[in-house]
């Protein structure tokens, strides 16, 4: 259900558009920066509220956010993803939304992304982290 809403937001804000991503990387529009920036802003405030007031989950558990530890993959992988992001004009979320929007050729892109993930798992030990 949350995924469904996310899909709707991605399409309605045109965040799944290849053109919007081009605009962003060319600094020719504030649109995508506004979306990502305000999402982070609301996210930070929500997480702070949850932490300060020790808000519990629906199942009455404490909210635990896994700690991310730095590794060089954040840098190397980040750069590689960035290159791909500017080519496909889509990060993983929008890939799914584009398929739903009737761009069936993006199924090929998604399968290729799955293949990329698989290759990472296959050669993980040999990569610098």
């Amino acid at each position: 259900m949350v995924g469904l809403l996310f899909g709707i937001i991605l399409v309605k804000s045109e965040a799944i558009s290849w053109f919007r991503i081009q605009e962003m990387f060319r600094f020719q529009s504030f649109h995508m920066y506004g979306i990502i920036g305000s999402a982070i802003f609301v996210g930070i405030i929500s997480v702070q509220i949850i932490k300060r007031f020790k808000v519990k989950t629906l199942y009455n558990e404490l909210v635990v956010i896994p700690v991310k530890t730095f590794h060089w993959g954040n840098v190397y992988g980040g750069l590689i993803f960035g290159l791909g992001w500017a080519i496909t004009g889509a990060c993983p979320g929008p890939l799914f939304a584009e398929i739903g929007s009737g761009f069936f050729v993006i199924l090929v892109t998604l399968l290729s992304a799955i293949a990329g993930t698989w290759l990472y798992g296959f050669m993980k030990e040999k990569l610098p982290h």
Partner: protein, 186 residues
């Protein structure tokens, strides 16, 4: 209804996406992130005895439902609550892309690059297949994508996510400014 059918401005879409973070946390400690679903698919379908894919993926299967939701949401948004039209991008971007060889500006994606008829051309292969491969490989290597690092990670003030996000942007700038014009000419 008319307002919903128009494209939504960033100050509506962004905060709504931000609210996904606490919603998933409160629905049972789920951390927002899409690229993890790609790993799930690998673990479920082609684990091939690789330790990275040997874990109890069924426990995390919520994110497979999540991405299925995105597909359905994409369908609903496009076919039920949109009026078709071109994406209202900056005319300077349009002019630049035209110069670089993009012809179709009628939809969300340029059909002269992303379509089945282009798939077997060199340019189509690079954009459709190679691009996707870099996205899948890069996000997993980086440990997350725009949702997992940029939104979830930075929201919980984790500096490795900020580093990763800066690298996403760097990679994007390098591609857009220095490599993409050549790829578009293929």
């Amino acid at each position: 209804m008319d307002v919903i059918k128009q494209p939504w401005p960033w100050y509506v879409a962004g905060p709504l996406i931000g609210l996904i973070v606490p919603t998933l946390l409160l629905f049972g400690n789920k951390t927002f992130g899409v690229s993890g679903a790609l790993r799930q698919v690998c673990a479920a379908c082609i684990p091939a005895n690789i330790s990275f894919f040997k874990y109890d993926w069924k426990k995390e299967s919520w994110n497979l439902y999540f991405v299925t939701g995105i597909i359905i949401g994409g369908f609903i948004a496009t076919y039920l609550i949109s009026t078709p039209g071109l994406v209202n991008i900056n005319p300077r971007t349009t002019a630049l892309l035209q110069q670089e060889g993009v012809k179709d500006f009628s939809g969300l994606l340029p059909q002269d690059i992303f379509s089945f008829s282009q798939l077997f051309t060199l340019r189509g292969f690079v954009f459709i297949v190679l691009g996707g491969f870099l996205v899948g490989f890069g996000t997993r290597y980086a440990g997350g994508c725009t949702s997992g690092h940029a939104i979830m990670g930075i929201s919980s003030l984790q500096w490795p996510s900020l580093v990763a996000t800066c690298c996403f942007m760097m990679g994007g700038f390098i591609m857009t400014w220095f490599i993409l014009p050549y790829l578009l000419k293929l």
